[in-house]
C-alpha cells in the first residue's frame, strides 16, 4: 500500500531525526553540550569558544569552610596557576542564588578574586543555577576537567582528603593536577570520577 509505505518512511525518518543524546547528567567521557555563560565582568562566553583548550571548572562559595580550606592554604591558587600555565582555561563558577551564602555581584566577585590572588581565567556568575544543574554540581568545591575536544574527562573532588581542616591539604592527592598530568602525557585520565566533597551548592528555586 503506497500511502502506508509513505507514512511509515515518514515515521521512521522523522523518528530517527529525533535521536539526540540525553543531557540529564553528563557522563564522564562524553561531550559537553555548548552553553553560554556570563562572567563577573559581564562578558559572555560560549563553552565551545574554548574548544582546542583544556577547561577546568571549579564550583565555589566564599563562605564554605571547604572552599576556605583550599584558599587559605593557597592550594586552590597553586592549582589554578599550574593549570593555566599549562594552557588551560580556568572558570570558577558561583551558583549561589541571590540571598544565599556565596552569592556575589560581578564587582564583589572581582574583589574577592583579587583579594585571594586567584589565578582563574574568569569567574562565572550562575545565580539561576543553570550551569550548576547542567553539570549536576553538588558541592563546593566540585571540580570538572574538559579536554581539548570538549570531552568531560574528570569530575569530582579536588583531592582525596575529604576534610574541612586546612592541615589536611598537605599530602593529599590533587585529582585535578593528576588529570592534567595524564592529559599532558597523552594518557587517559586514571581517576576520572570521584565523589565530590564539601558544602552543598546553594541553589535557589
Amino acid at each position: 500500500m503506497t500511502i502506508s509505505k509513505i507514512l511509515f518512511s515518514t515515521l521512521a525518518v522523522s523518528a530517527l531525526a529525533l535521536a539526540a543524546p540525553a543531557t540529564a547528567k553528563i557522563a564522564t567521557g562524553s561531550n559537553v553540550a555548548d552553553m553560554t555563560v556570563t562572567d563577573s565582568n559581564g562578558k559572555m562566553h560560549n563553552l565551545s569558544d574554548f574548544a582546542g583548550k583544556k577547561v577546568v571548572l571549579e564550583w565555589t562559595n566564599e563562605g564554605c569552610p571547604y572552599v576556605k580550606k583550599h584558599y587559605t592554604t593557597n592550594n586552590m591558587q597553586k592549582t589554578q596557576a599550574m593549570a593555566t600555565a599549562d594552557g588551560a582555561v580556568w572558570l570558577s563558577v558561583i551558583s549561589s542564588a541571590p540571598g544565599k551564602q556565596g552569592y556575589k555581584s560581578g564587582a564583589e566577585a572581582n574583589d574577592w578574586k583579587t583579594a585571594q590572588g586567584a589565578g582563574s581565567t574568569a569567574i562565572v556568575l550562575d545565580p539561576a543555577g543553570e550551569m550548576g544543574r547542567t553539570f549536576a554540581a553538588k558541592t563546593t568545591p566540585h571540580m570538572y576537567v574538559i579536554d581539548e575536544s570538549q570531552t568531560l574527562v574528570y569530575q569530582g573532588a579536588i583531592d582525596d582528603n575529604r576534610s574541612a581542616n586546612p592541615a589536611t591539604v598537605k599530602g593529599a592527592k590533587n585529582y585535578v593536577l593528576a588529570a592534567m598530568d595524564d592529559l599532558k602525557a597523552g594518557n587517559a585520565v586514571g581517576e576520572s570520577d570521584t565523589a565530590p566533597y564539601g558544602c552543598s551548592v546553594k541553589y535557589g528555586s
Binding site: 500500500m1 500511502i3 502506508s4 531525526a17 543531557t23 569552610p65 543555577g129 565523589a195
Partner: protein, 698 residues
C-alpha cells in the same frame, strides 16, 4: 518532668564539677564530661558507668544536642557534607572500638540530598579496660571530636572534652546507661536479610529477602560508600510476597571493576518507629522477591510475565479507548458486511488485520530499539513528539475522513475503479486498517499498559519484542474471536443501506481527530506549523478534484499536488515558543526535580502530572478528575502543590524521570506526601479518592 529533673541534675553536676575541679584541682569522677558549646551544637561525652572494674567492657558516647533545623552527617554524608568524627586519647590498658552509628535520615536541600541527623544524636563507642589496670587508679578518657553542622550554610565545629573514670567496683549510671542502651538497640546490626544489587543500563535495582517484621512501604537504603547510587534520586519501593525491591539510579562506581558486595543500612518502620538493619548487597542477579502485590500506590519494576500479561490485557482494553474506536468501527463494519456470507473471507480478513497490527507494533518496537541503541531518551507515543509526524497524521486522518464520506475512493489507486481503502476486501485493505488502528492508538494508554510498556522500553531487545507482541495479540484478539466464534458473528447486525450512513458518520470522528492533531501542532510548532498542515490538506483536496478530471495534464498536476501534500508536513519544525499545557489547571507550575525537593523541604504535599497535549488518556483524566472543582478544592485544602511536567515535545529530563518509575510514557501521576521521600505512583485512570488517599499517605 523527667527531662527537667535531668537538666537540673546535669546543671548541678556541671556546677559541682567545675567548682571541684577549680577549687580542689584534683580529679572528679562522674559519668558526663563538662558539656561544651561549639556554636550550633552542645556536646559532651557520657559514660554507661561511674566506675569500672578491671577487665570490664563499657560504653562511652558522644552526645550532641543540635540547634533546631541544623544537622550533622552520617558515615556516608550523601551528596555533600562530612561525617561526625571522634579521636580518643586513652591511657594505657584502655581501648576504644568504632562508632555505633545512629539511623540516618535523608535530608533534602534544593536538588541535593544528604544523610544525617537532627535533634540529639548519640554516638556510642565500646571501651575495654584491661585486667592489668590497678583498682583505685583513675582512667581519663579524652575525646577530640569534629563535625560539620549545616542548615542553609555549613560550619565545621570541634571540641575537646575529658572524663575521668574511677577503676574499682563496677557501678552503672542508670540514666546514661538507659540512654546508651537505647542508642545501641537502635543502631543497625547485621541481620538475616539477604540483599542483591543489579545494574541494568541507567537503572539500579536493590532486592532484599528474609525481611524482618515491619512496614516497608517507605523503605530506604543508605549505602556506606559513595558512588553506588544517586543520593538525590528517589528510591522506588516494590513490595513482593517474599521480599522487597528498591529501584533508583546508579552512580559512577559502576564504570570501574566493582567489588563483590556493597554494605549499607536498610531502614523501615515498625510500630511507627524507624528501624534499620545492616545488609550486604551482593553484586549480581536480583533476588526473587515473589509475587508483587497489587499496585495500590507504589509499583516500580515489573517482571517479564506481569509485563506480558499487562500488555495483553492492556492491548485488549485499548480497543475501547477513544483513539482507536472509529478505526475499529470501520473494520467491524467491513466484517459485518460479509458476516452473513462467506465465513472463509471473514477469517482471512481477521488474520490480515491481525498481521497488520502485529507488523506495525513490531515495526514500532524496532524503531524504538534502534533509537534507544542510539542513546535517545524516548517513550510510548514518542513519534507524536515530532511535529512532522503529528502534521502527517492529521493529514492522513483528514484523507481517511474524506474517503469515508465517499468524496473519493482508493482502489487501483485513485482511478475510480476499486472500492474504498479500508472497506476493500483485498489483503491490503485489512492489513492497512490494522496498521492505521495501531498508529492512531498510540496517543492512548490503557490501564495496565503503563508498567508493561515501561518494562518493554528497558528490557533486552528480545523481551521488548515479546511484550509488544503480547500487546499486538491483545489488540487484535476481538476480531479473531468474531471470525472464529460463529455465535458472535451471527449477532452482528445484518448488512443493509444503514452501513453506508454509518460509514459516513464515522468520517466525523476522523475529522475531529484531525482537528485534535492541528491543535497539538499549534502547541508544538505554533501557527506556522498548523498553517503548513492545513495547506497540505488543501493540496490533497485539490489533488482529488484534479484526478477526477480527464486528461494527462490533470493527472500530472494531481500527482504534483499529492507530492506537495506529503512533503509539506515534513517541513514543519518545532517552534521555540512552545506552550506549556498548564492551561485549565489552576495554580499549576512547571515541574523540575529541584522544585520538588524545595517543596518537600517546605513540607508541602506535591502532585506531579506528567502529561502531553497528544496524550488522550491525560486529557480524559483532566476532564474527569483533575479539573473538577472538588479535586481543586482538595489540593487547596491540603496545600498540595500541583506540578506539571509537559512531555508534548521531546524532553530528555522528563523521559529520564519517567524511566525512574519504570515508565516509558505519559500519563504518570505522582504524589509526594510529607511522610516519605519517595512518591506514591497513582493509577493511570485517576479518581478523586485515589488522590485524596495518596495525599493523606494511606
Amino acid at each position: 518532668m523527667r527531662k527537667a529533673l535531668r537538666w537540673m541534675e546535669i546543671s548541678l553536676r556541671v556546677l559541682i564539677l567545675t567548682l571541684l575541679t577549680w577549687l580542689l584541682a584534683m580529679p572528679a569522677f562522674a559519668s558526663q564530661s563538662i558539656p561544651v558549646d561549639t556554636g550550633k551544637v552542645t556536646a559532651s561525652i557520657v559514660s554507661s558507668h561511674d566506675s569500672v572494674a578491671p577487665g570490664q567492657e563499657f560504653y562511652i558516647a558522644l552526645r550532641t544536642e543540635l540547634d533546631d533545623h541544623w544537622h550533622t552527617y552520617w558515615r556516608n554524608p550523601g551528596d555533600s557534607g562530612e561525617p561526625v568524627q571522634i579521636d580518643w586519647t586513652l591511657p594505657e590498658g584502655v581501648t576504644a572500638g568504632a562508632i555505633h552509628w545512629p539511623l540516618p535520615r535523608p535530608i533534602p536541600t534544593g536538588p541535593i540530598v544528604n544523610y544525617g541527623f537532627e535533634g540529639t544524636p548519640l554516638f556510642p563507642v565500646k571501651f575495654t579496660v584491661s585486667k592489668d589496670v590497678e583498682p583505685g587508679s583513675v582512667i581519663t578518657v579524652i575525646s577530640d571530636f569534629y563535625y560539620l553542622v549545616c542548615k542553609d550554610v555549613c560550619i565545621p565545629e570541634q571540641g575537646k572534652v575529658s572524663l575521668p573514670i574511677a577503676v574499682g567496683e563496677s557501678i552503672e549510671d542508670i540514666g546514661w546507661r538507659t540512654e546508651i542502651d537505647a542508642a545501641l538497640a537502635a543502631s543497625p546490626k547485621r541481620g538475616s536479610v539477604q540483599g542483591a544489587i543489579t545494574k541494568t543500563g541507567a537503572r539500579l535495582d536493590m532486592s532484599f529477602t528474609n525481611l524482618p517484621e515491619g512496614n516497608f512501604s517507605k523503605a530506604y537504603f543508605f549505602p556506606y560508600e559513595q558512588g553506588i547510587l544517586g543520593h538525590s534520586d528517589p528510591q522506588i519501593v516494590t513490595r513482593g510476597s517474599d521480599g522487597l525491591r528498591l529501584t533508583t539510579s546508579p552512580d559512577y562506581i559502576w564504570d570501574d571493576p566493582t567489588p563483590k558486595t556493597f554494605d549499607g543500612v536498610l531502614t523501615y518502620e515498625e510500630g511507627g518507629a524507624l528501624k534499620g538493619v545492616e545488609v550486604a548487597l551482593a553484586v549480581g542477579p536480583a533476588l526473587d522477591i515473589g509475587a508483587v502485590a497489587a499496585p495500590k500506590a507504589v509499583i516500580g519494576g515489573v517482571t517479564l510475565w506481569t509485563a506480558i500479561f499487562g500488555a495483553f490485557i492492556g492491548g485488549l482494553i485499548l480497543n475501547l479507548m477513544p483513539c482507536v474506536f472509529p478505526v475499529i468501527s470501520i473494520k467491524a463494519l467491513s466484517i459485518a458486511k460479509s458476516a452473513h456470507g462467506e465465513r472463509a473471507k471473514v477469517k482471512r480478513e481477521a488474520w490480515l488485520y491481525t498481521a497488520g497490527v502485529v507488523a506495525t507494533f513490531m515495526l514500532l518496537a524496532l524503531i524504538i530499539i534502534a533509537l534507544k541503541a542510539g542513546g535517545s531518551e524516548i517513550g510510548w507515543g514518542f513519534q507524536l513528539q515530532s511535529p512532522k509526524i503529528v502534521a502527517a497524521l492529521s493529514v492522513l486522518l483528514f484523507v481517511v475522513g474524506l474517503n469515508l464520506l465517499g468524496v473519493f475512493e482508493f482502489g487501483s489507486s485513485l482511478q475510480n475503479t476499486g472500492s474504498d481503502l479500508t472497506q476493500k476486501s483485498g489483503a491490503a485493505g485489512s492489513f492497512f486498517t490494522g496498521a492505521l488502528a495501531v498508529i492512531v492508538a498510540t496517543p492512548c494508554t490503557a490501564p495496565l499498559m503503563g508498567p508493561a510498556v515501561g518494562y518493554a522500553f528497558t528490557a533486552p531487545v528480545i523481551l521488548t519484542l515479546l511484550v509488544f507482541l503480547a500487546l499486538a495479540i491483545g489488540f487484535a484478539l476481538p476480531f479473531l474471536l468474531i471470525a472464529y466464534v460463529p455465535k458472535l458473528l451471527s449477532r452482528l447486525p445484518k448488512p443493509g443501506p444503514w452501513m453506508v450512513r454509518f460509514k459516513e458518520i464515522l468520517a466525523f470522528p476522523m475529522f475531529a481527530a484531525a482537528i485534535t492533531g492541528i491543535w497539538i501542532l499549534t502547541q508544538q510548532a505554533g501557527a506556522n506549523g498548523a498553517f503548513i498542515a492545513l495547506c497540505a490538506m488543501l493540496a490533497f483536496g485539490f489533488a482529488i478534484w484534479l484526478f477526477k478530471r480527464k486528461g494527462a495534464l490533470g493527472k500530472a498536476l494531481g500527482a504534483l499536488s499529492i507530492l506537495a501534500a506529503i512533503a509539506l508536513p515534513l517541513t514543519v519544525t518545532a517552534s521555540d515558543a512552545s506552550i506549556v499545557v498548564t492551561s485549565g489547571k489552576t495554580n499549576a507550575e512547571a515541574w523540575s526535580s529541584a522544585r520538588v525537593a524545595e517543596l518537600q523541604a517546605e513540607g508541602r504535599p506535591i502532585f506531579v502530572d506528567f502529561t502531553a497535549a497528544w496524550c488522550v488518556t491525560c486529557k480524559a483524566n483532566e476532564i474527569a478528575v483533575l479539573n473538577k472543582s472538588k479535586t481543586q478544592k482538595l489540593f487547596k485544602d491540603t496545600n498540595t502543590a500541583f506540578l506539571v511536567a509537559d512531555w508534548t515535545n521531546k524532553d530528555d529530563v522528563i523521559a529520564a524521570e519517567l524511566a525512574k518509575y519504570g515508565r516509558a510514557g505519559v500519563p504518570l501521576y505522582l504524589v509526594y506526601n510529607n511522610k516519605s521521600v519517595s512518591p506514591a505512583i497513582l493509577p493511570q485512570v485517576l479518581s478523586h479518592d485515589v488522590i485524596r488517599d495518596a495525599i493523606a499517605g494511606e
